[in-house]
């Protein structure tokens, strides 16, 4: 899988983070990783989509989301 595919997946995750989402759940299986993002305190505009799930396939993006998760946990601890 190419670097371009990684960039697309990273941008999808970054976009959610910019909107205030946090990583809620990581589910990995034969198809890659399914990352559930949630709004800690759903803003009115987001109420229809308090949860977002992304299917992450590239290895680099799965590394990236792991790094994000560790940073998120460090911030909240």
């Amino acid at each position: 899988m190419s670097y371009q595919e990684f960039l697309v997946e990273r941008e999808r995750m970054d976009a959610l983070l910019r909107r205030g989402y946090v990583i809620k759940r990581v589910h990995e299986n034969l198809s890659g990783a399914f990352i559930e993002f949630a709004l800690p305190t759903p803003a009115a505009s987001e109420l229809k989509q308090p949860l977002q799930t992304l299917h992450i396939q590239t290895a680099d993006a799965r590394k990236y989301v792991s790094s994000l998760l560790i940073q998120q946990m460090k911030r909240s601890s």
């Binding site: 190419s2 670097y3 990583i23 809620k24 759940r25 990581v26 990995e28 590394k63 990236y64 792991s66 790094s67 998760l69 560790i70 940073q71 946990m73």
Partner: protein, 427 residues
């Protein structure tokens, strides 16, 4: 000048280079000539009940012009009576009192057999014993050698029996023909070993003659598995030394061997935890006088690094050896082709295209001159292109700037587990 003298579990020698128990240490004539040449110690060819050997005993693999890249033997332990060996050991020790002579021993796994041989051998003044629990051929069919060395309980029990009567340090020589060498190493420690040594030879079948279909080597048309050694086995041996060196319950010195051909491999083994090395195949290939380059090379290396004693090398790189799960997933290297050095042979392109990640492009500049270029963003840093490249300096593997903080697999899994637990608790 750095101090090259070595002390392994109380066995002292003027340098860390010992001859391994093998054909070069078969007799006093050979060991004395080796000491004259400069070897620091010798592990005498294994003593035991004199055996009968077959004719046609050795075989070797040559690879791309390098003779004896790997070596195989089906020779057994000494075929000479114990008294003859002991007389020569005594004479050799008397002539070279400051050199280390270690007696390699192998008998049936019976307490009285070990007691008898240890008592008789230590009377002639050896500096230590090496218990041969590693020889994989012939003797193993009789319950000795690696047949003993593959069973941790037998290693522990026999080591204990030897320690009951030994007045000199006991080294237990381990077989690599086992899934986890730390299991038998730990058994040796439990049995009271003062040190361990590794590796003995690896089970091997060197080949089949394409014309006659004979096993190589064959004895009147039949062959049997042998013990493999030489430069080809060095990575296997180095890993086993390192695994033992970093094991928390294996806290005795290690004598390292397996593919040591020059001072460089000796330094590698010592950095990974060996207190000195043993050498056999390189001597069988080139003779005793290789020791001159080994001593000189080691001396220069230590002096150039400002290291006062060769013993200061021991174990210095062990902390860098870990499990895969502790490696940083966010560390990145990428290949960079130096077009001014590259000869455009396309070996790297073919390797990357066929066996790796298809990230080398064949391009042409404005003048039509062809060149190769790596798309660094797609390169996974596997090293394959630089490994197949025939020109030194044509491909560098360069570190890329970090995009994320260091993160190991173990840290990643711990974070995901913690997230799962946190979610469960929140419900």
């Amino acid at each position: 000048m750095a101090d090259l003298s070595m002390n392994l579990a109380g066995i002292k020698s003027p340098n860390p280079f010992w001859l391994a128990s093998a054909p070069p240490t078969n007799s006093g004539y050979q060991v004395q000539r080796a000491f004259e040449a400069g070897w620091g110690g010798a592990v005498w060819k294994t003593l035991g009940e004199p055996i009968l050997n077959v004719s046609s005993r050795f075989a070797a693999i040559s690879f791309n012009g390098q003779r004896i890249a790997g070596f195989n033997n089906i020779e057994l332990i000494t075929d000479r009576p114990l008294e003859v060996n002991l007389k020569e050991i005594y004479e050799t020790k008397k002539r070279f009192p400051n050199h280390a002579i270690i007696a390699s021993l192998m008998v049936e796994p019976k307490r009285e057999k070990w007691h008898e041989i240890v008592k008789r051998v230590q009377d002639v003044g050896v500096d230590g014993f090496e218990l041969n629990f590693g020889c994989p051929h012939g003797m193993a069919e009789r319950g000795m050698g690696s047949a003993s060395g593959q069973v941790p309980e037998l290693v522990e029990k026999q080591t204990y029996w030897v320690k009951e009567v030994a007045e000199k340090p006991v080294i237990v020589k381990l077989t690599p023909n086992i899934t986890d060498i730390t299991a038998t190493a730990e058994a040796a420690v439990q049995g009271g070993a003062d040190a361990i040594s590794m590796i003995n030879t690896i089970n091997s079948l060197m080949g089949v003659d394409l014309d006659t279909w004979h096993i190589i080597p064959h004895v009147a048309g039949k062959g049997a598995h042998g013990g493999y050694c030489g430069p080809a086995v060095k990575p296997i041996a180095l890993n086993m030394v390192a695994e033992c060196a970093r094991h928390p319950r294996i806290n005795v010195p290690i004598s390292g061997m397996g593919g040591v051909s020059s001072w460089k491999e000796a330094v590698e083994f010592m950095l990974m935890g060996a207190t000195g090395v043993q050498v056999c195949t390189a001597v069988m290939h080139h003779g005793f006088r290789i020791i001159e380059d080994m001593v000189e090379g080691l001396q220069h290396y230590l002096d150039s690094k400002g290291i006062a004693s060769v013993m200061d090398l021991v174990g210095k790189a062990v902390h860098r050896y870990s499990d895969w799960g502790n490696l940083d997933l966010n560390y990145k290297v990428a290949a960079r082709i130096n077009t001014d050095v590259c000869i455009n042979c396309n070996k790297c392109y073919i390797a990357c295209e066929d066996a790796s990640h298809q990230c080398i492009d064949r391009l042409a500049d404005a003048t039509g001159r062809e060149y190769l270029k790596v798309r660094e963003e797609d390169c996974v840093g596997c090293n394959l292109c630089s490994l197949v490249c025939p020109v030194d300096g044509a491909i560098d593997m360069v570190e890329l700037p970090r995009e994320c903080p260091p993160m190991t697999w173990n840290e990643r899994q711990a974070a995901i587990s913690a997230l799962t637990v946190s979610n469960a608790e929140a419900k």
